[in-house]
Amino acid sequence: MREKKFSVIGKPLRKVDALAKTTGDTRYADDLELSRMLYGKLLRSPLPHARIRGIKTDRAAKLKGVYAVITGTDLPERFGIMPSTQDEEALAGEKVRHVGDPVAAVAASSEAVAEESLKLIEVDYEPLKPILSIEEALACTEESERIHAWNRRANIQKAVSFEFGDVVQGFEQADQIFEDTFFFQGNAHLPMEQHCALAQYGPEDKLTIWSSTQTPHYLHRALSKVLKLPMSRIRVIAAPVGGGFGGKSDPFSHEMCASKLAMITGRPVKFTLTREETFYVHRGRHPVKMWIRTGVKNDGALQAMHFRSFLDGGGYSSYGLATVYYTGALQTVSYKLPAYKFEGVRVFTNKPPCGPKRGHGTPQPRFALEVHLDKIADKLGIDPIELRLKQLVEPDSITVNGLRVSTTGLRECIEKAAARAEWKKKFRQLPYGRGIGFAASAYISGAGLPIYWNGMPHSGVQIRLDRGGGITVFCGSTDIGQGSDSILAYVVAEEFGVDPADIRVVTADTDLTPVDLGSYSSRVTVMTGNAAIQACRKLKEMLVQVAGEALEVPVDDLEMAEGKVRSQSYPKRAISFAECVEKAETKFGTLGATGSYSPPKYPANYKGSGVGLTPAYSYSASIVELSCDPETAEIKVEKVWIAHDCGRAFNPLLVEGQSEGSVYMALGEALMEEQVFRKNGLHKFPSILDYKSPTTLETPQIETILIETNDPEGPYGAKEAGQGFLLPVIPAVANALFDAIGVRIDELPITPDKVLRALEGRLKPVSVPSFDFPPPIKWRPGEGVEVPQKS
């Protein structure tokens, strides 16, 4: 069978669920209602750190309309997203570790009764000293000051240290050494939909839960562990997610409690969190302090880099184990770096736990790296774009920390963005108060390893063909608005030569769909796309065989296009897709096929080498033009250019949409968003009014430039197109501000008060704590197992 031109891939098509989302037909978790349904509410801790001496629930349980009240003793099993740091409880047992930590749950006839009953629960707390900053956590090393008991060193969740290449020699070879410190404040995902879960436990002893989750498979595992039910008795359905951005990727207390309360009462139980609760559930961007030291030649060539990150993790581990590695891993995949030392530590504090937000652990170090390079270029008198262009990582290379780069379109991204923005005309040429800044970045197209160790596929797709020519695609992937359902439809339509609108997509239901690990790490297009292609090609083999026989045309000459299987030489010799399916079913029996995808093996094998691996890296370059009023320090972003190597744009409209959304989110993080706490552990801004985020008025013109490098590992060459765009925008804002008014703000968000202090010379550099990192794991390229690339 010959290859044909794309008929679906690359076209600006409607998403398969787009119209339903405009008519109100899409049913999100909280839109579901079951008969006899009860409403659940969580009693949350008002204290940041306390021991629980006792809980009295009898008054609440007696309130009319209350059907069950549970506490930590009802759900003692610990859970957490990472297998080695299972430190969360559905309801606190002995201790609460942040304001908002759940201690009891009720199921009642209405939300009002449930809320009323919470007031009748008496918790006897013994307040403990709260730890609210990275510095305090590092200083509180006494056993008596521990937030958790399980970790080796008090209040250190994880400390890592690596040395790649000859770092000492690298610094010796350098003509100049530069050092900087940075702080990236934490911030929230702020999805417009609050978390919601509805659980039902049937008389046949099976549990069904509908939840606004990005990771139904991991939730499935966690529920089984906590509820002590076999996975075969649990069905997890991810409802269409009303905004995720990483914030709905953990298994949550309300999901456990809804399930347990449904089991106890025999009635469906729904929990919908309030907006305030979503701020306390959090899992957002980690606050990170960073120190960076780089040795360069006078021409700007990087010789060695030493980078340290200090992560404020909040009260639980969440994804933190991965996050701490991510703050170091991807510093090497954009620019050639012969020697690199990385040390990172994540501490526990008595604040809501941090987790993955768009870019997961990489926007913070990227901010530091790109502003640091801008400063170096300025001091060396080199154009910051030239500084980068002379040392870009080559395609088909292995980085100093053992990451395999296949394709890279970073050069083209940079050159095109610079040309469109008229960089050369504007850089250091604009009038005072107006500036332009540049930064670049790289991101993963899916994590190379699953979250729990196993050798099974990361993504599975099943396709069923109906006698009438209908095609149904089943996949565990979860549409969080990014369009993953549409991606499946596009792939299958492309393969079978049919209209994507004719395909039915069934996703994110553990009873019906093969496992896909979830919507995180920008993995879905690459992994489900490859799995879907594999499944389609198994079916196509059968279809072209019967078509060839029926049309008396060699299989090599057949193509599937326009709803037909036809001869390419004599296009009139054709049968319809439906007819072909009928013939194939007659010959082979019921038609279905599965496909699966596992990422390739990787070159490095040192401990910790699992983070940062990916089938392919996406690359981005951004230029930001802004103005800053020197009197008020008000910053107005005028325009953002963003060029992104997405391998291949499955649907340019959707890729642009991800770009525009990422740029918007980046501007929020750069200029206004911050998740900060009072001394008593209360959130300063737990409402949408107080937590400032950009509106239509603050969002500038965004020009997206798509670069297609056709990666051999991606389906039709596609790479990531969901998170990478965010990364370069934040440092580009900081660099543009320097170009505009000549001050550096190394601390996010860049608010007018900081700019004014900097203009008056009163902004202090970011202080970085001292910490005794463990001895480094040393690795050099070439060590370990070299694995040839898949082509």
Partner: protein, 174 residues
């Protein structure tokens, strides 16, 4: 006996704020009557009593614009209005945007241009946009921005939303 116990339970219901009141209004062109709790917001009446779940909630504090509906052609945050305040009002929700079973041009434009990602804020944005276009069929991009400044969207960066409304203004919806 019977009568007394009923009285008692009515009093208990009152304590719990559960007394219902009969309400009548026009929703999406149809007269609707419900018996509902007096402390329910219009948002809750629409979603819970009428099953019109197309109207979403993002904060229930009047901060995000997600729950916007039209009352007598004006965009209103339905989380800040009590159901009982809407008596006799003419209400339009996202379910009422369709005309004769056909999507409104705004709905088609949003779908065609990729202006819906997660889609959760979209019902409110569509209704705010319709109210704008009803009053001013040819707004500039800046006027569209102004009109939508109270509707938050975390997915799209607003760009495709503004593009979609502009497409309708230009009359270029397929």
């Amino acid at each position: 006996m019977m009568r007394k116990s009923r009285k008692e339970s009515a009093a208990k219901l009152n304590q719990n704020g559960l007394t219902k009141r009969h309400l009548r209004f026009r929703v999406n062109g149809e007269v609707k009557e419900v018996a509902t709790e007096t402390n329910k917001t219009l948002l809750e009446v629409l979603r819970e009593d009428l099953g019109l779940t197309g109207t979403k909630h993002g904060c229930e504090l009047g901060e995000c614009g997600t729950c916007t509906v039209l009352i007598d052609d004006e965009p209103v945050l339905s989380c800040l209005v009590l159901g009982v305040e809407s008596e006799d009002a003419d209400i339009v929700t996202v379910e009422g945007l369709m005309r004769d079973g056909r999507p409104h041009p705004l709905q088609r434009a949003f779908a065609d241009l990729g202006a819906t990602q997660c889609g959760y804020c979209i019902p409110g944005i569509l209704l705010t946009s319709r109210a704008l276009l009803d009053k001013n069929p040819h707004p500039t991009r800046e006027q569209i921005r102004e009109a939508l400044a109270g509707n938050l969207c975390r997915c799209t960066g607003y760009t495709k939303i503004l593009d979609a409304v502009e497409l309708v203004v230009k009359g270029e919806v397929a």
